[in-house]
């Protein structure tokens, strides 16, 4: 099998300081014994509520948080035991779209600098960067005219497109998305979902999405990993999990999902008047 990413019994957490007098350092464990594999070209979604450790998983994958125990294998190499230059080599093959488009863009930088940053970091010449930046802006459906604007002038949906453009400019093989639509309107959400899927189809990337929204996951993934309090409670294909959920937690996620009840089952809902 062609596994591109593998987490082997990863336990991770954050240091915290409890008590002012003693200053005892403690480690708050967030992820407990997490193992999963992502194949090349797969679309995987990690689902969980706030505090379940979804973002922590991404931090571990992105090389930002060293796990307490366990291994993170990317292209078969143990990320955290590599020397830092080789680690960077591997991390450059990952594109990352952060969570909040309103807080993830530098408000004073022009869009071309924001989008070109990943190339600038690897020492590409500026004239090539500018060319490439306008190419990716076209791919994500933004007008060329914004290239000299700052992010302040853009709407939420446009900001999210800028973040996606920045993530794909260096032609990554893995695309990691942290809640790509949770800050957006439903109508813009649909635009972004379709854009991400067309990027997936054109560039044949491996896509890992973190979300708390099953509806979004259904469109952005083929396989779901359901996380609860730092543990994987269920894993399987989208159809399998939605049709036939095994764990109680998944069942409750599905039943509490907000549907438009007007279409099939509005009769079940009491309406006065």
């Amino acid at each position: 099998m062609d596994s591109i990413l593998e987490l082997q019994r990863v336990t991770a957490g954050y240091k915290s300081i409890k008590g002012f007098k003693s200053l005892i350092k403690r480690v708050e464990i967030v992820l407990r014994d997490i193992s999963f594999t992502v194949e090349k070209g797969e679309r995987v979604a990690i689902i969980g509520e706030s505090g379940s450790g979804k973002t922590t998983i991404l931090r571990v994958i992105l090389g930002l948080l060293k796990p307490i125990s366990g291994k993170v294998l990317i292209y078969g190499k143990d990320l955290y035991s590599l020397p830092s230059d080789q680690k960077l080599q591997i991390l450059r093959r990952i594109g990352y779209v952060p969570q909040d488009p309103y807080r993830s863009l530098n408000p004073v930088l022009k869009i071309k600098y924001i989008v070109g940053e990943p190339l600038e970091a690897v020492g590409v010449e500026w004239r090539h960067i500018e060319e490439r930046a306008s190419e990716v802006l076209k791919i994500v459906g933004l007008p060329q005219s914004i290239i000299n604007d700052t992010a302040e002038e853009l709407s939420g949906g446009m900001r999210q497109r800028v973040l996606i453009a920045r993530a794909i400019i260096a032609e990554p093989e893995i695309l990691v998305l942290d809640e790509p639509t949770s800050a957006l309107d439903v109508s813009i959400q649909a635009q972004i979902i379709n854009l991400l899927n067309s990027i997936y189809n054109t560039f044949k990337v491996t896509m890992i999405t973190v979300t708390h929204d099953l509806g979004v996951a259904q469109y952005l993934a083929d396989r779901l990993i359901i996380l609860k309090s730092g543990k994987i409670v269920e894993e399987g294909s989208v159809d399998e999990v939605l049709r036939n959920p095994k764990s109680e937690y998944t069942k409750s996620l599905i039943t509490s999902y907000l549907q438009i009840t007007g279409i099939n089952s509005l009769n079940n809902i009491k309406i006065r008047g």
Binding site: G51, L258, L266
Partner: protein, 324 residues
């Protein structure tokens, strides 16, 4: 029949920083919300739904300009450019903000939050406010133990419940909830919405829910209005609008909501929401509408739909022009 909110041709705009022009967020809206209704304003960012809701809650910013009239329980709150929310704001109308995490002070306990609100609105003392707080917390399904907690000790869903309880304790007749579920997890949304629906049914509180999500509407509200570029383009009973949407915008809005377990392609709305500077009388959806006709440069009237009671739509296509 008592009308909780009556808006007559109300327009609300914001003066641009250089005071060169006014951006009109709400443009000539006529709306009546009956007492005891659970009414929903649906629309995308920039459609003016939050502006309209904050006008009802009496919390318009000072650089807002208004035209038209707004009555709250037959009291004139906005009369052209004069506002009079004294005795209404916080007492008759209460407001639940969007983001519970940033709306509660990190240095005050839940009990203090209740006290400062109830002291100012109802002149309650400590003891009375504590009693009212405990009653309200019970109604929203929280333990009285949270009174001593600080906001950071509560989860997002609990914080939102605290805010709802504060709105309840002030004995408000109208609760305005601005996107109450957009900042909390998907699995908690249903329970917060169901709570709002229950309060509306059991305590006869008039509810005005502001959201961009038609799914939330269908759970709580019995009536809805779809807003677009500051105008209401379709309004009616939730059941009839969702089963039988007439305006192309409403139809497209329904198409972009994911349905769990149903593989249908998502059809996003084309284009970005527009900002209206000039108050031209055109159909606001014209440029993004796949079915636009020549007539659409004029503003369509709000016409009733078929035999459905109270179902109105603002579209030339449905007023017989199509055939001609």
């Amino acid at each position: 029949m008592v009308l909780a909110v009556r808006a007559g041709g109300i327009s609300i705009g914001y003066i641009d920083e250089e005071e060169e022009y006014i951006v009109w967020a709400v443009r000539g809206v006529d709306l009546a919300i009956e007492e005891g209704d659970a009414f929903c304003l649906v629309g995308e960012s920039g459609s003016g739904k939050t502006t309209f809701a904050s006008a009802i809650a009496g919390i318009l910013p000072p650089h807002a300009v208004t035209r038209g009239k707004l009555y709250i329980f037959d009291r004139l709150a906005i009369d052209e450019s004069t506002w009079n929310f004294n005795g209404l704001r916080g007492r008759v109308v209460s407001y639940i903000p969007q983001n519970p995490g940033t709306s509660l002070s990190p240095f005050l306990t839940v009990e203090d939050h209740f006290y400062y609100v109830l002291r100012d609105t109802l002149r309650y003392d400590r003891e009375k406010s504590r009693k009212a707080a405990m009653e309200a917390l019970l109604k929203v399904g929280l333990d009285r133990g949270v009174l001593e907690d600080y906001p950071h000790e509560l989860s997002g869903g609990m914080q939102q419940r605290v805010l709802i309880a504060i709105a309840l304790a002030s004995n408000a007749k109208i609760i305005v909830a601005d996107e109450p579920t957009s900042a909390i997890d998907a699995n908690l949304r249903a329970s917060v919405l169901q709570l709002l629906g229950r309060l509306n049914r059991e305590y006869r509180v008039t509810l005005l829910l502001v959201t961009h999500d038609l799914a939330s509407t269908s759970i709580v509200c019995n009536r809805l209005a779809v807003m677009l570029a500051g105008k209401i383009v379709e309004t009616g009973r939730t059941i009839s609008v969702l089963r039988n949407p007439q305006h192309p915008y409403t139809k497209m809005l329904l198409d972009c909501v994911p349905l769990l377990g149903v593989k249908k392609p998502l059809k996003p709305l084309p284009g970005e929401p527009i900002q209206v500077v000039e108050d031209k009388a055109i159909c606001p959806f014209r440029e993004r509408c796949p079915r636009a006709i020549d007539k659409c440069v004029e503003e369509p009237p709000l016409k009733p739909v078929g035999d459905e009671e109270n179902h109105y739509v603002k579209c030339w296509r449905l007023t017989g022009v199509e055939s001609g």
